[in-house]
């Protein structure tokens, strides 16, 4: 192209150019996102716990050792034992699968139903949009815990039902976010151009509106994941989640609270694990949001 085109090329080139050879080791060390790496490490560890718990602990999470009740943390029991002599670390490791699958199921429910509603409302507009969004407003106005407790009472106790209950409370957030994104993208010129080149509604929705709306939804999903673990643990703590002796994290905290004075690690250890996972999910979500912001 000509002069002017080359200028703008230079301009964009500058922006996208990665510091290649000139970047020194020191600046790599200085700029390395340690927090983010730690967050991924935490999530990766917890995922490994769910897949191969046997790799991390040899103890049975359900079978107690007679005479070994309420032992303080030691080399033999990293995080001590509970009132029935079960190894706490083993229970946390084996419990990961319950908390995580619950959270994934909950986020899945919220994501699919919420973004579906939001996408539909945002692209159809008009009266349908009004009805859906007022319904979402109603969902938003009910306190989340109250809503999930009512759903559990309707559906009955259990891990899956707890997940559905938590997911239902996430629907409203996803729907609102998705709708606002869809409305933003819908007004973009490239969407009109797509209609202008003969695109049908469904094709334009699938090819342009959905992919361009999803970026912030993905970041929001990561936040919701941490939040869902917290909610599921809350339900477990209150006794509405998985029934004992399932080593679910919220349940672990609840069981340990009777011994807070004598064996504080029984509540502190699973509590800290929940905190670490939630914070990690938030940190990762933040990084997704940032990279998307930059590339947009």
């Amino acid at each position: 192209m000509t002069t002017a085109d080359t200028f703008s090329d230079l301009d964009t080139g500058k922006r996208s150019k990665r510091a290649g050879t000139s970047r020194s080791l020191a600046s790599i060390l200085l700029n390395f996102p340690y927090g983010l790496a730690l967050a991924w490490l935490v999530i990766a560890t917890v995922l490994l716990w769910t897949l191969v718990p046997g790799l991390f602990t040899a103890y049975d999470p359900l079978q107690g050792v007679p005479g070994g009740q309420l032992k303080a943390p030691s080399a033999a029991h990293l995080l001590g034992t509970d009132s029935l002599g079960r190894d706490l670390f083993s229970r946390i490791v084996h419990g990961a699968v319950h908390s995580l699958s619950g959270a994934i199921a909950a986020v899945g429910v919220g994501l699919v139903v919420g973004t579906g509603l939001g996408l539909f409302a945002g692209s159809v507009r008009g009266r349908v949009d009004e009805i859906i969004m007022r319904f979402v407003d109603v969902l938003l106005s009910i306190p989340t815990l109250l809503l999930s407790l009512s759903i559990i009472i309707l559906l009955g106790f259990g891990t899956i039902n707890a997940a559905i209950a938590v997911g239902a409370t996430a629907i409203a957030g996803f729907a609102r976010l998705m709708r606002s994104e869809v409305v933003r993208v819908r007004n973009a010129e490239f969407v009109e151009a797509a209609f202008g080149s003969g695109g049908t509604f469904g094709k334009v929705l699938w090819r342009h509106i959905l992919p361009n709306s999803l970026t912030s939804v993905v970041a929001y999903t990561a936040v919701q994941f941490g939040w869902a673990i917290l909610q599921i643990s809350t339900l477990g703590f209150l006794g509405y989640g998985a029934p004992p002796p399932t080593p679910e994290w919220g349940l672990l905290i609840a069981e340990g609270r009777n011994y807070l004075a004598t064996a504080w690690w029984l509540t502190a250890a699973p509590g800290l694990v929940v905190v670490a996972v939630v914070l990690s999910a938030n940190r990762i979500s933040q990084s997704i949001g940032k990279t998307n912001g930059r590339s947009a």
Binding site: A4, D5, K14, E189, A193, A194, A296
Partner: protein
């Protein structure tokens, strides 16, 4: 000019660089110039030429990652290039002030006009409330705002773009600075408003003897308004000198190119007249378009417009913002149902199409948007963008699609290597070529161009106009070309409609309208074309003729 011995501003060997992560890239290389009192110096260049960086360096407002590498900026005899921000703050507004580019974003939306003008008075010296109020009204009167007392109490959103720019000028001149830096002060404004604002800056300069550093991409504006001209390219000065000298006998090849590409300066050769008897590609009769306002009233955006476009010719729709030109073409492209009147394109009556026919109609009429940054999906590759219209109609085999995409990309001058890129890796001109390719891949008969070259630099604009003319000649396309820029219209259109407040105030061939406009408004528009002081630089562009009948 009352040029004193000592220049107000002297820039010597200025180098400015920006850092991107770990890389520093220099964008201004050894720029030297001076501005005398009462003089207007125009800094001209295309985007990326370093003109804005130079201006920002002078007032010490470089972006956070920008730095003055070396050189001196001597303002009233003092080198300010190494001054701290705190020291610079004392001279900003008082000695040197800035008229920013975008009046829409440059005023605080939650403060009244009066408060914002008063602020500059109170920052630089104690002044009593009553005295300040008096000065505010005086300044607002001075910049030609009607009802200044009322304006002082209004908020920015209650003012039009031109009025906001006047307020910004009032703020800039409040303390009678020695130098005003005007960074593209009129690019965002309509051409008649642009003319009034430039007149105002001119008057104020004459009255106060203020020096003006005018940053602009528009050579026409620079030609009309400046005493000296500095042409920048890639951060280096290509040429500087007296405006008349530079325009009459440009020394550098780049300046010659800019001059020949600037539509307002090049003498347009008339296009060959359209022979009578060409069949009409598009007929609009008595088009009326109403919009319902939230208040329950209706607003008539387009009122009784009629024109006919013979096949293979270009019809220009001209008007300022709010004139109804966008509404008209959206109706032509089938995005709105007209309230009244008829639009006929081929066998289609656009107003009465159902959604199925509308899709078939899209094959005949395509729209190219003004802003190539917004009209391409940022997540799709160039190939996918151009290919998309082909997927919307009866299935085309993959190889056939690839072949047609490659052919059309080649036709609009896009290298094959760009097809796999995303739009953000393309320049503005390339993007607009992609948008044109997407419009042409369905082989339409009518292409509606909505300000399709307004967002582009002048040399790129000239290339795109050349491309459009070539495509018309080869493919027999019919264009409806919407523009606010009469200079461009004179260059490429056969017939023209001038819209004003939704009414068609002039209609005829370009020749007729330009030489004997029937309405005052059209004459005002023609007079407002910048560059009138230098009617033709001696390099003229080759003229285009209408496309063949196909």
């Amino acid at each position: 000019m009352s040029a004193s011995d000592k220049p107000v501003l002297e820039v010597r060997d200025l180098n400015v660089s920006y850092s991107q992560r770990d890389i520093r890239s220099t964008v201004v290389h050894g720029v030297s110039f001076s501005v005398n009192a009462g003089e207007v110096v125009a800094l001209v260049g295309e985007s990326g030429s370093g003109k804005t960086s130079t201006a920002q360096a002078v007032i010490g407002l470089l972006a956070e990652n920008g730095r003055i590498e070396s050189g001196a900026i001597v303002l009233n005899g003092e080198d300010i290039s190494r001054w701290s921000n705190a020291r610079l703050r004392n001279i900003r507004g008082a000695v040197v002030s800035l008229v920013p580019q975008d009046p829409g974003n440059s005023l605080n939306p939650v403060a009244t006009i009066g408060e914002q003008v008063r602020e500059i008075l109170s920052i630089h010296g104690r002044i009593s409330r009553r005295e300040a109020d008096r000065r505010v009204i005086e300044l607002l009167t001075h910049v030609g705002l009607s009802e200044p007392e009322l304006r002082a109490k209004q908020y920015p959103h209650e003012l039009s773009g031109g009025m906001k720019q006047r307020v910004l000028i009032a703020i800039a001149i409040a303390l009678r600075p020695a130098l005003i830096i005007a960074d593209e002060p009129t690019s965002a404004l309509d051409v008649t408003v642009q003319r009034r604002i430039l007149d105002l800056i001119d008057d104020l300069r004459r009255q106060y003897g203020t020096a003006v550093l005018l940053v602009t991409h528009d050579l026409g504006v620079a030609a009309d308004r400046s005493d000296k001209i500095i042409v920048l390219q890639g951060g280096r000065i290509q040429e500087q000198g007296k405006t008349a000298d530079v325009l009459a006998a440009p020394q550098s090849a780049y300046t010659r190119k800019l001059l020949s590409d600037a539509p307002s300066l090049a003498a347009a050769k008339p296009r060959a007249p359209i022979e009578p008897g060409r069949p009409a590609a598009l007929t609009i009769s008595n088009l009326v378009q109403d919009f319902n306002l939230p208040s329950g009233k209706t607003f008539r955006a387009v009122d009784d417009i009629s024109f006919t476009v013979p096949r293979g010719t270009t019809h220009a729709v001209v008007g300022e913002s709010g004139s109804g030109k966008t509404t008209t073409i959206r109706a032509i492209a089938g995005f709105q149902k007209p309230t009244g009147g008829q639009i006929r394109i081929g066998d289609f009556d656009v107003g009465s199409l159902n959604s199925k026919d509308l899709r078939q109609f899209r094959r005949k009429v395509q729209l190219v948007y003004q802003n190539p940054w917004a009209s391409l999906d940022p997540r799709q590759t160039v190939r996918a963008i151009i290919e998309e219209p082909l997927l919307n109609f009866e299935p085309v085999a993959r190889e056939e699609r690839d072949r047609r995409v490659a052919a059309i990309a080649d036709r609009v001058g896009l290298p094959t290597t760009l097809l796999s890129r995303l739009p953000h890796a393309l320049s503005g001109g390339q993007r607009q070529r992609v948008a044109i390719a997407r419009a042409l891949v369905l082989e339409p008969e009518v292409v509606v161009l909505d300000e399709a070259v307004s967002a582009l630099d002048v040399t790129v604009q000239a290339q795109i106009l050349d491309l459009l003319a070539e495509l018309q000649r080869d493919l027999g396309l019919t264009y409806v070309f919407v523009s606010h820029d009469l200079a461009v219209v004179r260059q490429i259109a056969d017939t023209v409609s001038v819209l004003h407040n939704g009414r068609q105030v002039d209609y005829g061939t370009v020749e007729q309208v330009f030489s004997a406009a029937s309405s005052d408004y059209t004459r005002e528009l023609i007079d407002a074309i910048p560059g009138a002081k230098f009617p033709h630089a001696d390099i003229s562009r080759h003229a285009f003729s209408a496309g063949p009948l196909s």
